[in-house]
Symmetry: C2
Amino acid sequence: MDIVEVSKVLSNKIRVNILDWLKDMEANFPPQTNVPDFNNGVCVCHIQDKTGLSQSTVSHYLTMMHKVDLVTATRIGKWTYYKRNEETIGAYINLLKYNL
Amino acid sequence: MDIVEVSKVLSNKIRVNILDWLKDMEANFPPQTNVPDFNNGVCVCHIQDKTGLSQSTVSHYLTMMHKVDLVTATRIGKWTYYKRNEETIGAYINLLKYNL
DNA sequence: TTAACAAATCGAAATATATCGATATTTAAT
DNA sequence: ATTAAATATCGATATATTTCGATTTGTTAA
């Protein structure tokens, strides 16, 4: 894990917001329709709705968040569900604690 | 303090390096000549030497690090000494812990 | 097997960051 | 006062990021 690469992801308000919204998916997103629960996360379209950005931009954001492993991605049918990867998030904070 | 603004500062390898070098100033910089010790930090010229970047770039980097308070700046005579602001650094890590 | 939908990728334009050399400012020494 | 040194600021160019619409890819349903 690299402080610079993760910081790049975190240096954008919307991406930080997405991480924040994903902390409480039930509260921040409409109920799931194609899967029974939020266990795999939230689909791109719901995240897109909340950001107000274009589909391609949000997909790009989520891809870069996934590349540094801050979120996991699960494809189910036509949908891709994203959720926080608490392990990486915690590891990053720990990295800062000892290396920043 | 703002996650996005601090992350912008941290999304550059040299700036992260500077913070790291300042963790052990005695080990990473030549001995002081115009002040008795490292209590106020390291002067811009020594940091510049270590980065290999231009004076203006390093000054700019240090200014932006100072703007988000990751470092303190102390002018003594012709020199400006920079050092880590552990309070802000700790506060930032704490902020991430509870808000990321 | 086609049509339709969700998501990812591509290509382009706008904006921001990185980086330099030149200039300005501040302070100290002559 | 003048000069010189250290740092800060300015202006410009190169590179990177943001963001979009269009296209492509993967998947399901008709």
